[in-house]
């Protein structure tokens, strides 16, 4: 049972399938949600064997609460991008465009890594945005933009890639951007700690890293 940040949805699903192929008899189940939501569930006793967060803050919450079995490993890194509707009809080219009054922006809530990261990026760029909604997970922002409800949002670069034909992305310059580290750890109450460790090893292995890279993640 793997609890993983929602930005890991596609890549980890494939990782899980590959893991099951090379470890017959083991079944991997996933629960994808905002990292903050997941860590709250684990602390409350949810039956996770592995936890993969989208930044170190939420992982620290778990380790501070004594819920981690050993030090976390960094599985991957991710950067941020602006996501816009397919075809970019509003002609959004930069972070500054997000502050335009005719643009409807949604961001992640700051209770999740994507929200905290987006806030840091915007601050670095000196842009002040008035979003219409704070979504509880990054896929929520993706959905709002893909469905045309919002004009733009700030998500992970991997999310823009995952939404390939349904949305477009606008790059954020490196001087404003930040990279989030994705820590992964086995939980102390894991029912299958052997399996948990094997899965984490698999994620760090060449094959695992290969899969993550094809989804747009950066090496740890």
């Amino acid at each position: 049972m793997v609890f993983a940040a929602s930005s890991l949805s596609e890549s980890f699903a494939e990782l899980g399938a590959a893991f099951e192929r090379s470890h017959p008899g083991v079944e991997v189940q996933f629960s994808f949600a905002g990292s903050g939501d997941l860590v709250a569930q684990i602390i409350d006793g949810a039956p996770a064997d592995v936890f993969a967060a989208a930044d170190t803050d939420d992982m620290t919450t778990l380790t501070d609460a004594g819920g981690a079995d050993g030090p976390p490993r960094i599985a991957a890194r991710n950067t941020f991008s602006i996501i816009v509707e397919r075809g970019n009809p509003r002609n959004i080219d930069s972070l500054a465009d997000l502050a335009r009054s005719d643009i409807l922006v949604v961001l992640c809530a700051d209770s999740v890594p994507c929200g905290r990261g987006a806030a840091a990026v915007l601050e670095r760029a000196g842009v002040s945005v008035a979003p219409k909604s704070f979504e509880d997970k990054v896929k929520g922002v993706v959905l709002k933009v893909v469905s045309g409800e919002a004009d733009a949002g700030i998500v992970y670069t991997t999310d823009v890639l995952a939404a390939a034909d349904r949305a477009d992305g606008v790059e954020i310059p490196a001087e404003f951007n930040q990279s989030n580290e994705y820590p992964i750890v086995a939980t102390i109450d894991a029912r299958n700690s052997g399996g948990a460790r094997q899965f984490i090893d698999f994620v760090s292995s060449d094959e695992g890293q290969q899969i993550l890279t094809t989804y747009g993640f950066l090496q740890p």
Partner: protein
Amino acid sequence: MNRRPPLAAVVLASIATAFFALPLVGLLWRAPWSQAGHYLTDDTTLTALRLSLWSSAWAAALSTLFGVPLAWLLARVAFRGRTLVRALCTLGMVLPPVVGGVALFFALGRRGLVGQWLDRWFDVQLPFTTAGVVIAQTFVAMPFLVVSVESGLRQLDVRFEDAAVTLGASQWYTFRRVTLPAIRPALTAGVALAWARALGEFGATITFAGNFPGTTQTLPLAVYIARESSPEQSIVLALLLVAISFIVLMSLRDRWLTAGGTPSRPVRQ
């Protein structure tokens, strides 16, 4: 008259009560009592509380305004397709709230079936607004009122209404003085249920209206978001929600839940 209740009934009822009480006790047990005051007067809390009360009151009012005539039609008039209409109107009650929210999205969202015209012709957008919150809440709450009131109307002996009409009362007068008092328990329960359902609405709200403090972040949404960053605050918010609902339900006195009975005054000519 107070008969001795059968043991089996008492045992089962006790288990049911314990089942309902347990989560509440759990909340009370984990609540950060020493910091409760601080969290209760927090901006986030007060804003969410104000918004919740305001939007749920509106949702209850709209549910009553539109729900009572609907219930009356469903109960009193045998029109073609009545079963279908009834099923349609109570769908919101069995549909998972998030599904309801997604459906509202596709109907009333900026690119939605009706929503796109609202946007293009009237520059009206419903998602991300308080109006959107009220709509989401009304969608899930109204069915409760409709079901309750229709049930009450069906149990009412139509002969009282017929008698009133025969004696010269207008339809509206009959409704006001004969029907309404007789269905008072069903109507009261219906409004209370609709209101409580609206207050606790989460799935449809977060999917359709979004989450923004002051505009769309109702108390349930605040509980959910706070849970991730400040579990203590989320417990206090949750208890606040429970307390409000409790107070309203407690004030539903027993006598309101018994019928207004037969009209005691003769109908005027």
